[in-house]
């Protein structure tokens, strides 16, 4: 991200506060103690099984993530019938690849084209399609993104380094219900003849949220 651009689009009327628990989740000793106390209380009372906590954490830290969504996108790029199913009934099509469940029960896939660019946000909390993207990054959950994505989407995209031509229509999707949105990015030029696996490796999380395009593969160095 270009800091100069960030400054223009970003905070124009106040200095960002870097003290205290900032956007990167700086720890508070008090919070750490509070969490430890709560966990031991819940375990002592038999309300949680610590092994279940570990399994829950491990699932989202090491198994589920944007590599799942990338496989969905790559499949749609190489398989027109799958793409059609994906756009018509996203949950069922995504389940064909084995991805389903919590926070992705009812999926909607929206397609980026040369004429339409889609961007996903959740202004009220931070709803996010866990089975295909994992847990959201801090910026997606930040007040800065949640406040501005619906007000100045082009400015937000510029902040991510994506300057859209005027003729492209921007559609923002505010996830206020239990529908979960995944952007199907445009397949970049220069990927003809690539395999599904090679294509999946190109797809980024940000492209599936809609704050980036999938870049063309780097030309091999001479």
């Amino acid at each position: 991200m270009d800091p100069a651009k960030e400054e223009i689009v970003g905070s124009s009327d106040h200095d960002h506060d870097h003290d205290g628990p900032g956007p990167h989740g700086a720890p508070l000793t008090e919070t750490q103690l509070r969490v430890k106390a709560l966990e031991s209380l819940l375990v002592d009372k038999g309300l949680v099984d610590p092994a279940a906590l570990d399994a829950l954490i491990d699932t989202y830290e090491t198994q589920v993530g944007p590599h799942n969504g990338a496989r969905v996108v790559a499949r749609a790029w190489v398989n027109p019938a799958f793409k059609q199913r994906l756009l018509e009934n996203a949950s069922a099509a995504i389940a064909e690849l084995g991805f389903a469940g919590r926070q992705g029960e009812d999926m909607v896939v929206i397609e980026n084209t040369s004429k339409v660019h889609n961007l996903v946000v959740c202004t009220l909390c931070s709803c996010y399609p866990w089975p295909v993207l994992g847990l959201p990054p801090v910026w997606y959950k930040s007040a800065a993104y949640r406040s501005r994505a619906v007000f100045d989407p082009r400015g937000v995209l510029r902040e991510f380094g994506l300057e859209l031509p005027k003729h492209v229509e921007v559609r923002v999707w505010d996830s206020t219900a239990e529908l979960r949105y995944l952007v199907l990015p445009e397949r970049p030029a220069g990927t003809e003849g690539m395999s599904e696996e090679q294509l999946a490796a190109l797809v980024t999380r940000n492209a599936m949220i809609g704050v980036a395009r999938v870049p063309s593969p780097a030309k091999p160095a001479r």
Partner: protein, 219 residues
Amino acid sequence: MNGAHDLGGMHGMGPIVAEQDEPVFHHEWERRVFGMTLATGFLGKWNIDMSRYAREQMPGPSYLNTTYYEHWLFGLERLLVEKGLLSPDELRTGRPQGPAPDPLRVLRARDVGKVLSEGGSARRSQGAPRRFKPGDRVLARNIHPLGHTRLPRYARGKRGVIERDHGVFVFPDTNGMGLGEKPQHCYSVRFTLRELWGPGASRRDSVHIDLWDDHLEPV
């Protein structure tokens, strides 16, 4: 409620700071809060809308000055006390003062994979008959409930067009308050940026918001 969580359209929240190669969790306590929140959700004492409402009740200045998992921690502590699983004294002292109130089905490690992949859809097979169809012009109600609502402030009183009918879903505004699921149709409603933000906004661009029959009136 018109809380600090309802952020759409607010100014002065600073630049968007995207971290390169960001880890899933930044601190061990975040892992534990995430795990405890999911695990206790399976006790069946509250629903996801109640969880959201609990976080929304964090006082505004604190909400804006803390991180995502601190919101979760606040909401979790609140629900545990509100639903009688912990007493305020236990929470304050960290010492258990008795067994859990009644037999509860506690999530076990062996069941984690199964319950996560099953999920829990808010879609319902039956509900109130739909009031709108794609193409209908609608007005988002100008309501300001003190309780939970998924109608964001920036859309209230604005005109939009029904883009698609998602089908029948649980209505969070009642479900989050313990007033029942009240299943009804949920729609993707398209609002132009001009309608939302006035003549200075782009003519071409739009925001799609998922809203329920009870949020909408015909135009």
